[in-house]
């Protein structure tokens, strides 16, 4: 029986090639989109799957309240470690203090590499479940050891045996390689962990780290834990949440609340608003999941519509089969197996499309997704997907076609149009509702990106280059390097700063100043800069003056930004002193000498944070900021800079970034979403148009005789075109009315995440409506005009 069904299905497909192409092609396109999105969603959801214990590994986060605002983050103070070890050891299998991931220079013989890694406590390799390829598992036992990832080990030692070799780190200390571990794959946290050095070493390196041992207010470290199997994240969180509040004295005023964020949530659910977890990337996983489902739905609707539109042709067959003794159930099975066949074809085609476009998609989405040929689960899911799609696409036509009564059909009085009209119209409306909503959504995302991009940055990012200098080698070299760079002619001005211009690395509080409101808990972004900072960035001074090297007193001076001026409640800030609240503070007070324009250092979608730029007394350089010579090409400038750099630091790889590119990175996430949704919107529209095209051609064929008669009676081409297009246009208008409020509601919600956002303007919606109408008219007209131009005598004779 199945064979007979499939035979009929196959012959029907071959007989109506145009119909089959539209049907299978459209469905394949929809499935390809869904597959692609499915792979993307899977990739997102499988983040951190490398770690078997991702449910039990957690990072300690804390929420603190400043002036009524709750801020949440992973930075914790050092004394927390001892408090947990001493009072709550039973709650943990591992407690691992860690530095932030930082690039360090690793030297072996004449080789020098800049790699990212952490200083971590001894439990790290066991907690993370690192696969040790060489050396000892417990590789952080001795203070002078270093564990390397396989790729770094190979890059450094090539064929030599790495274990026992001594690496020079940052020209600062020697470390002996104790272990080589398998690289942590991309799509996992710690995938940039190229080396691990014992935490104890870290403590010996800088005075401020040592001093932090009992400073509850110095939130500069990370703490990872593993909980035992018989415990839960919630349980441990409720046990330790007040540990800092109870032990930290003064800090209790900020109401620090500790909690564990399990590793499985680090990537997708790491966003907090006012101390409450509000998701994160998971929202995009949902968004694309929904888009994928809708695109598939659109393609299925095409299938349903085209199948029912063709029902008149199949009605006779149904009638005959029923009169010969087929039950309704059997007819349903027949049409379902037909839809299964089509879906199967479409699936194969979809897989081909995915393979063709996977690279492009990876570039767009910055992923490294590969086609899961060997994954049995994937094929099982695919099978379920095919069955689901064929049911979704085929059930309506199957139920509809099988309901024909043989008497009606065989008598020839049957016309499908009367019965099938309404559901088909509803489906078309649904399709265009989705398309119009997609158009509106995409336009708004694009607008929001442009809006943020056009926002003044506050300084000149073009022609500005930054070089990371976070190594002992650069200590005390600033003046020399500045002179050398400027003398090379490639650089017109240069400064150094403790953080990149595109980020804030340090926030401070605990100050007082004249006119500070009572119980005001300030939180200031703090960056140490050399006196040439404003000049090199082209950052405008709007009050007071810039730093001056000639004035010795400027070593205790600061600049603040416009927002800080308002934030601190100062109308005339110049001359005001910022003092430490702690009376015994050994450092002299800082004098505000000027106010600079706000510059966007963090998110371009958020207000600029109140910031202080302190005179860099101690050579706290992390970056050089170089203003390139505008009269020379960028490549000449860079070549000259590299020349100077390597002549002074032959052992250090030359690294640099263009600040405008770095700044552009801030838009990357939104831009990716914008591009992806534009692509998906285009595909959704294409699929809908394919369906509409198919549908019009059927209506035109159905009404061929009528059109012929009308033309003989004197109807013009325009009359006929109008007659055929009108119905569809009406449907599209209805779709617009449904889509606009939905799109408005959803996009308004999306925009709420951005404090700095576009207004939803009416013309966006009008544009979408006009766009949808234009597309409909174009699609429909092609068939309508063809039908209208057909020779009436010919079409009448075919009956």
């Amino acid at each position: 029986m199945i064979k007979n069904y499939l035979k009929i299905a196959w012959r029907n497909l071959m007989k109506n090639k145009a119909y089959s192409t539209i049907n299978i092609g459209g469905l394949a396109l929809g499935m390809a989109v869904t597959l692609m999105i499915g792979l993307w969603v899977y990739d997102e959801l499988s983040h951190n799957n490398y770690f078997e214990k991702k449910d039990r590994i957690a990072q300690i986060f804390q929420s603190q309240t400043f002036n009524g605002n709750i801020g949440t983050g992973p930075a914790i103070p050092r004394p927390l470690e001892m408090a947990l070890r001493e009072g709550y050891d039973d709650n943990f299998k591992h407690i691992v203090m860690s530095s932030w991931t930082t690039p360090l220079y690793l030297n072996y013989k004449e080789k020098s590499l800049s790699k990212d890694g952490n200083y971590m406590q001894q439990g790290a390799p066991d907690m993370l479940g690192l696969t040790i390829l060489k050396g000892e598992k417990d590789g952080l036992r001795k203070i002078n050891s270093i564990m390397l990832s396989k790729s770094v080990s190979e890059a450094l030692f090539e064929d030599e045996e790495p274990i026992g070799k001594v690496v020079k780190v940052n020209s600062q200390f020697d470390a002996e390689v104790t272990a080589v571990y398998e690289d942590i794959p991309v799509n996992n946290s710690f995938n940039d962990l190229q080396f691990i050095i014992p935490w104890e070493k870290y403590l010996t390196l800088y005075e401020w780290i040592k001093n932090a041992e009992d400073q509850w207010g110095n939130n500069s470290f990370q703490l990872f834990v593993e909980i035992p199997e018989n415990s839960s994240i919630e349980q441990v969180t409720s046990t330790i949440k007040d540990v800092k509040k109870e032990s930290s004295g003064d800090e209790a005023e900020f109401n620090p609340q500790l909690f564990l964020l399990p590793m499985k949530d680090w990537y997708l659910r790491n966003s907090f608003q006012n101390g409450v977890q509000v998701g994160g990337r998971i929202k995009y996983v949902w968004l694309f999941g929904i888009i994928g489902t809708f695109v598939l739905l659109l393609a299925c609707i095409n299938f349903m519509n085209l199948s029912t539109a063709r029902s008149e042709k199949r009605a006779k067959e149904v009638g005959i089969r029923k009169s010969i003794g087929s039950q309704r159930k059997q007819i349903i099975n027949q049409f379902l197996s037909e839809s299964f066949l089509v879906t199967l074809f479409a699936y194969v085609l979809a897989v081909v499309m995915v393979l063709l476009f996977l690279n492009a998609f990876n570039d767009l989405s910055r992923k490294e997704i590969s086609f899961p040929w060997q994954n049995i689960t994937f094929w099982l899911i695919s099978l379920v997907f095919i069955i689901f799609t064929s049911l979704l696409a085929g059930s309506y036509p199957a139920l509809y076609l099988s309901s024909f009564r043989p008497v009606n059909v065989l008598k020839g009085t049957f016309t499908a149009g009367k019965y099938a009209g309404l559901p088909r119209k509803i489906l078309v409306v649904l399709q265009f509702t989705v398309s119009v909503a997609f158009i509106i959504g995409t336009v708004i995302v694009m607008q929001q990106i442009n809006f943020a991009k056009n926002r003044p940055v506050g300084y000149d990012t073009k022609g500005l280059v930054q070089i990371p200098v976070m190594s002992r080698d650069f200590e005390g070299k600033y003046d020399l390097m500045r002179t050398e760079f400027i003398n090379s002619g490639a650089v017109v001005e240069m400064s150094a700063s403790s953080a990149p211009t595109t980020s804030i690395w340090s926030n401070r509080g605990g100050f007082t100043w004249d006119g500070k409101p009572d119980s005001f808990q300030e939180d200031l972004a703090w960056t140490e800069v050399t006196p040439e900072y404003a000049k090199s960035l082209n950052l405008k001074i709007i009050k007071g003056r810039d730093f001056s090297r000639e004035l010795a007193s400027d070593s205790n001076a600061v600049l603040i930004n416009e927002t800080a001026m308002k934030y601190m409640g100062l109308t005339d800030p110049v001359g005001t002193f910022i003092r430490d609240e702690d009376e015994e503070d050994p450092f002299p007070p800082k004098k505000i000498i000027g106010v600079v324009q706000d510059m966007i250092a963090q998110s371009p979608y958020e207000p600029v944070k109140q910031g202080v730029y302190g005179f860099d007394k101690y050579g706290n350089n992390s970056f050089y900021n170089l203003r390139l010579n505008p009269n020379q090409s960028a490549s000449d400038n860079i070549a000259a800079i590299e020349n100077v750099f390597t002549s002074h630091f032959p052992d250090i790889p030359f690294q640099y970034d263009f600040v405008d590119t770095e700044y552009g990175e801030k838009f990357a996430a939104e831009e990716r979403i914008g591009t992806l949704s534009a692509v998906f919107t285009a595909l959704a529209i294409l699929i809908s148009c394919l369906g509409l095209f198919g549908l019009t051609s059927y209506v035109a064929e159905q009404r061929k005789k009528e059109i012929g008669v009308r033309k003989v009676l004197g109807a013009s081409v325009f009359n006929v075109w109008n007659m055929l297009s009108k119905d569809f246009l009406k449907l599209v208008v209805i779709s617009c009315f449904i889509a606009i409020p939905i799109a408005y509601y959803v996009m308004n919600g999306w925009l709420q995440d951005y404090p700095y956002r576009v207004l939803l303007e009416w013309w966006i919606f009008l544009l979408a409506v006009i766009g949808a109408m234009a597309i409909t008219i174009l699609t429909v007209s092609f068939q309508a005009i063809r039908a209208a131009n057909a020779n009436p005598i010919k079409s009448l004779r075919t009956e």
Partner: protein
């Protein structure tokens, strides 16, 4: 007795009024009969034939088929009943255009769960009997009207039905082709198959034993 209709009424609602298609039909068909239904166009011949064939419902009355009460049966049972005992022949042949002659003949058997070798043998028998072995791989559109109706009759017969219902089987054929089909019916009837046909031609009606005349849905 093969079947019996008692006081069958069928109507449709039109503008709040009942329009009767069949009025008080009483008819008994014995096994082995050859009946012709006649009457002017619109008198309800096709309607009656469809009711007998269980393709159409009626609104009042009783219908017994082989001592089963058709009016009380569910759709599924009814389909089982007619697929086992009844074969249809249509004026417009109604072959499935996408299937070959062979496959068209095979189709009724697929709904009856015959094994594939049985099916092969039965189809081969029919092809042989109707002299259309050479045409078995052609599609219906490649045949003449007479040949198509031959396949239609063969298809109706392949399930070995007790009753053949034919609605103007020769309506679309020329007289020579029509005669061939009527001879075939006569031959079948001799072999014991009961036949009820609708026809407009006195000549064709003469092949049968009994003639039923309809006028405005009523037997006269």
């Amino acid at each position: 007795m093969l079947l019996q209709l008692n006081n069958i009424f069928k109507w449709v609602q039109q503008g709040g009024q009942r329009v009767f298609l069949l009025k008080d039909i009483n008819l008994t068909v014995e096994e082995g009969e050859f009946i012709s239904i006649m009457g002017p166009s619109g008198s309800g011949k096709s309607t009656l034939l469809n009711v007998i064939g269980m393709l159409d419902d009626f609104d009042e009355g009783q219908y017994e088929f082989l001592s089963e009460s058709v009016h009380q049966l569910k759709e599924k049972h009814r389909a089982n009943l007619y697929k086992q005992y009844i074969g249809f022949v249509f004026q417009a042949y109604h072959l499935i255009d996408e299937l070959t002659v062979y496959e068209n003949l095979e189709m009724p058997l697929l709904y009856k769960k015959h094994s594939s070798s049985e099916r092969k043998a039965m189809v081969a028998d029919m092809l042989d009997r109707f002299n259309i072995v050479g045409k078995k791989d052609l599609f219906p559109t490649q045949l003449s009207g007479g040949q198509q109706q031959l396949v239609g009759v063969a298809r109706a017969l392949i399930g070995k039905p007790k009753l053949i219902l034919a609605d103007e089987p020769t309506g679309n054929l020329n007289s020579a082709q029509g005669e061939e089909i009527m001879d075939l019916f006569k031959q079948l009837n001799k072999e014991g198959v009961t036949i009820v046909q609708v026809t407009h031609s006195e000549k064709n009606a003469a092949y049968g034993g009994r003639v039923i005349n309809l006028l405005d849905g009523r037997m006269v």
